[in-house]
């Protein structure tokens, strides 16, 4: 297994590029569904202490909505799509074709719409990932939670925590032109997956 501390700059670049293509694909899918221009930033590929991960989405007690998918295949991992509650409700409005601000509470229909959005985002991300690495992976059915960011990220971090004290996260921020649909997309490869991915892109 490749030690995560030892990724070369070229390998980090390759990881960033994977994130870029994956998230670009996802952003396009999302903007088509809600019929809005959606931008994304250059993905951050970082190795950070596990306990600092919740800070990426506003701190451990920030109220967020998250869609979680487990990724199966040769390089297993987790995908999390995390949004502040307000933005998640805007996304529900966008998905259901309602005026922004309509959704005030998440009913079963809204929850289902968000899960489906997570599904589409993950699918398009992994699809791009496959074209780049030829590693074929499948997402699980999506699960949804509305809760404190720290509590939600626990799910992912516990698995990493078993292997070490650091997390490799590939994170992309989405930003809609009118600021309505902002969120964070995380791909968190399982510790053993990193070497598989790096090998597949063939960068020394």
């Amino acid at each position: 297994m490749i030690d995560e501390f030892d990724l070369t700059p070229a390998q980090l670049d390759a990881m960033r590029e994977i994130g870029n293509i994956g998230a670009g694909n996802s952003a396009t899918a999302l903007s088509q569904i809600v019929n809005k221009k959606i931008d994304m930033n250059v993905p951050q590929v970082s190795l950070i202490p596990i306990e600092d991960v919740p800070d990426l989405v506003g701190g451990p007690d920030a109220l967020v909505v998250a869609v979680f998918l487990r990724v199966y295949g040769k390089a297993p991992g987790n995908i999390l799509f995390v949004m502040p509650k307000k933005n998640a409700f805007y996304l529900v409005d966008g998905l259901m074709g309602k005026p922004l601000g309509t959704t005030q509470e998440l009913d079963e229909m809204g929850a289902s719409a968000l899960k489906e959005a997570g599904n589409i985002l993950a699918g398009s991300y992994l699809n791009a990932f496959f074209h780049f690495t030829k590693i074929s992976m499948l997402p699980s059915i999506p699960a949804l939670a509305i809760d404190m960011a720290g509590a939600i990220l626990n799910v992912v971090l516990v698995q990493l925590g078993q292997m070490g004290d650091y997390a490799m996260v590939i994170e992309t921020k989405f930003l809609a032109e009118d600021d309505s649909i902002n969120g964070h997309f995380f791909l968190v490869p399982d510790p053993g997956s990193l070497s598989t991915i790096v090998k597949a892109v063939g960068v020394e």
């Binding site: 596990i50 306990e51 919740p54 701190g59 451990p60 007690d61 920030a62 109220l63 979680f68 487990r70 699980s140 059915i141 699960a143 949804l144 939670a145 509305i146 809760d147 404190m148 960011a149 720290g150 509590a151 939600i152 990220l153 626990n154 799910v155 971090l157 516990v158 698995q159 925590g161 078993q162 292997m163 070490g164 004290d165």
Partner: protein, 162 residues
């Protein structure tokens, strides 16, 4: 809430004395273990992620695990002047945030965390006097070292003192 507020991060612990309050935000499957000596008003709060250090790859951080974190915190509160015989413990957390039909071990870690915490406390002769564990929701926990009151805050299920 009197005194200063001391933040306890994930896989970390803090000890202190009245009138401080120790707080840890956003626990999911993690557990917040509090210890308190009601006479000396000295206590601690530990935020563990995993039950068992022997089932994990090496870690530099004993506070990440119940089996290594709890004894460490006991030593520290005793060093601060608490009596081990008088210490009482409360635990909260251990939720399962996402439920899948085929929940893997990693998904059920909350339950194992709670069980292991109780076992380690028992093994160390510390009485567990209150717990709020399980469920599918996050918790923010704090212990007021002036009173020993252990507050558990949630998003949708209000706040309680245990």
């Amino acid at each position: 809430m009197a005194g200063n507020l001391v933040k306890v991060g994930m896989a970390d612990y803090k000890v202190g004395r009245s009138p401080s309050t120790l707080i840890s935000y956003g626990l999911g499957s993690c557990i917040g273990v509090s210890l308190y000596d009601p006479l000396r008003k000295i206590g601690g709060l530990l935020h563990i992620m995993l039950p068992d250090s022997t089932q994990a790859r090496s870690s530099d951080n004993p506070a990440k695990f119940a089996d290594t974190g709890i004894p460490l915190m006991i030593n520290d509160v005793v060093a601060l002047g608490a009596s081990k015989a008088r210490l009482v413990a409360k635990i909260a957390g251990g939720a399962q945030m996402f439920s899948f039909a085929s929940a893997s071990d990693a998904m059920r870690v909350g339950t194992r965390n709670a069980e292991t915490c109780k076992q380690i406390l028992r093994r160390n002769g510390i009485k567990l006097i209150a717990e709020d564990t399980g469920g599918t929701y996050g918790r923010t926990v704090s212990i007021d070292l002036a009173t020993g009151s252990y507050k558990v805050k949630t998003i949708d299920r209000g706040e309680k003192d245990i």
